[in-house]
């Protein structure tokens, strides 16, 4: 169901960031363009991680959760922000990754964490390949529907397959071996934090390189103008399927990290509200900007941690209000605000 192009609008779907020809400039030049916001956010997040590691032992577990959400957000941003495929069912890959390591541990004694992480990525990638072929055949609302339908289907399966998943009670009794045979998961969450942080850093490097590669640029091209991409000889369908699979694998790894660090898997990892939340995180940070998605994940998770302690109803209200404000007044998200702040500094400096 292709949506007709709105009148007087160029074919364009999301706020744009294109790591283009101008990226090869000096540090000073970098700080002035969009790369400047990326750099500022990267430095701030790095400092925050370091400070938490050194002084914030009470927040290690929360920080691990933040890092996991960041990986999940990156996976969705690559799909939604870069390739322009809107999904409301990405929790299915996150949840599958979580259940994959959980079931591998409980049923088959596969407790080694790093190989289990790869297993989760592979399982989610497989489901991504199978559903992606079908989801990408439709567009617009039909596509949104199919992502939701597949997610609901897998949720039902997990709910019913009690012997395997524990159903609504969740999967209990999961054992995770020490990371690299050395670092046991401790109750303070130090291992959990460092472990998820390490995986996050690898994923961020991978994602940054990919978005600057010809492949990453071709995804932006497809988002911007599918017809033209076809006319320059791109197999659009195959390229979209490939990013769908990559995104599914990354989401699966994020889910697996959650299962390993909390040693429990509940049905909520497959729930629709998680699919919605992660989309909100990407929009909050700024879709199509990797560092935006990362920033969004941090802000959202901390916000949620504070507010949901009060009353879930209030949390829903503030979340809705925040989201409405972002959509109506700051469609480029938090990173768009950082862009504007930097531009303000620059013009003051010039004056």
């Amino acid at each position: 169901m292709a949506r007709p192009i709105p009148r007087n609008e160029p074919v364009k779907s999301l706020s744009v960031s294109y790591q283009g020809a101008a990226a090869s400039s000096t540090w000073r030049g970098l700080a002035m363009g969009r790369g400047g916001s990326d750099l500022v956010i990267a430095v701030l997040l790095g400092l925050a991680a370091l400070a938490t590691l050194l002084f914030g032992e009470a927040y290690w577990l929360l920080a691990a959760q933040v890092a996991i959400t960041m990986i999940f957000a990156l996976s969705v941003d690559l799909l939604v922000g870069f390739a322009g495929i809107v999904t409301l069912g990405h929790a299915v890959f996150f949840g599958l990754g979580a259940y994959a390591v959980g079931i591998a541990s409980v049923q088959f004694g596969w407790t080694e964490p790093l190989s289990a992480l790869l297993l989760a990525g592979a399982v989610s990638a497989l489901l991504g390949a199978a559903t992606g072929v079908l989801v990408l055949r439709t567009r617009g609302l039909g596509q949104l529907m199919l992502t939701m339908a597949f997610a609901s289907l897998v949720y039902e399966i997990a709910n019913r397959a009690k012997p395997l998943t524990g159903g609504a009670d969740g999967l209990q009794g999961m054992v995770v071996s020490p990371v690299a045979g050395l670092f046991e998961f401790d109750i303070f969450g130090l291992t959990a934090f460092v472990y998820t942080l390490a995986v996050l850093i690898v994923v961020v490097i991978f994602a940054v390189l990919m978005t600057r590669s010809p492949y990453g640029r071709s995804l932006v091209g497809i988002r911007e103008n599918r017809v033209r991409m076809q006319a320059i000889g791109t197999g659009v369908q195959r390229r979209l399927l490939s990013i769908y699979i990559v995104s599914a694998a990354l989401a699966g790894i994020a889910g697996a990290l959650l299962a390993q660090t909390s040693q429990f898997v509940g049905l909520n990892v497959l729930h629709f509200s998680l699919s919605g939340e992660i989309l909100i995180i990407v929009a909050l940070g700024g879709a199509g900007r990797l560092w935006g998605a990362l920033l969004g994940a941090v802000v959202f998770t901390l916000f949620k941690d504070r507010l949901s302690a009060l009353d879930p109803a209030y949390w829903y209200f503030w979340l809705g209000l925040l989201l409405a404000v972002i959509v109506l007044f700051a469609p480029k998200g938090l990173i768009g605000l950082v862009d504007r702040l930097l531009a303000l500094f620059r013009s003051k400096e010039a004056a």
């Binding site: 160029p10 364009k12 294109y18 020809a21 990919m210 492949y215 932006v220 320059i232 000889g233």
Partner: protein, 251 residues
């Protein structure tokens, strides 16, 4: 006469009871510049879409460089050298002019799947992009977003993208459409400087342009070929004249 680079055999397309392409036999030799003309609704766009693979024919075949490509996808035909421009600009509006060409060059060089950046290769491709832009006089605009360009320049970006794909056959869908007549000079200059071994099929309403460049002209009416020949033959063809009565067909 050398072997045709592009050929159609008994190409037919029906939409229900409506025939939009009727038994079209067509051929284009390397190095020739041919024009496709016809009144509005004659089926010119459908014919181009049949050639590029956007529309599948009801029957008949499309042969590119001796190979039957009828069943091949759009992108497979592009990879084999069949490249088109669009009548209405179909560009990456929020990317820069150079980036528009770089996207095409990446695909042409088979880099589209390369998941890692390579600064050295990137510089090469950038230079190549600017070389192409230079040929069209677009190099000063390389770093500007396409949407900032005046419409006439955007039309040239269409051609720049097509040239980046090193076509064997170039289908130009009204390259001068929407450009004020005072600015068609640039387009003419570009067309004059196209490589001599390239086969070009141009769809154009501007008869001055057609008769200036075309070595052969095909007239399409109601989905069928009405006449085919040199500009002189077409200009003196009585049937063509009657169809174009009032539109002033003359060189």
């Amino acid at each position: 006469m050398s072997a045709p680079i592009l050929e159609t055999r008994a190409l037919q397309k029906n939409f229900g009871a409506l025939t939009v392409a009727q038994n079209i036999d067509f051929s284009l030799e390397p190095g020739t510049f041919e024009a496709l003309i016809g009144p509005n609704g004659a089926g010119k766009s459908t014919f181009v879409n049949l050639l590029t693979g956007l529309v599948q024919p009801t029957s008949g075949s499309v042969i590119l460089d001796g190979e039957d490509v009828t069943a091949l996808s759009i992108e497979a035909r592009v990879k084999r050298g069949l490249v088109r421009t669009f009548q209405i600009n179909t560009l990456f509006n929020s990317l820069t002019v150079a980036e528009n060409v770089i996207l095409a060059l990446d695909e042409f060089h088979g880099q589209g799947w390369r998941p890692l950046p390579s600064p050295s290769r990137r510089r090469l491709i950038r230079d190549e992009a600017y070389e192409i832009l230079g040929r069209l006089g677009l190099d000063p605009w390389g770093n500007r977003e396409v949407r900032e360009l005046p419409y006439g320049r955007q039309r040239l970006v269409e051609i720049a993208i097509a040239l980046a794909l090193r076509p064997k056959v170039l289908l130009l869908d009204e390259p001068a459409a929407g450009i004020p007549s005072t600015e068609t000079g640039t387009v003419i200059e570009v067309l004059e400087n196209l490589a001599s071994n390239l086969a070009v099929l141009i769809i154009e309403h501007d008869m001055d342009l057609v008769f200036r460049f075309a070595q052969r002209i095909t007239v399409l009416v109601q989905g069928a070929v009405l006449a085919r020949g040199t500009p002189d033959e077409i200009a003196n063809n009585e049937t063509v004249k009657s169809v174009y009565l009032g539109e002033g067909i003359h060189a």
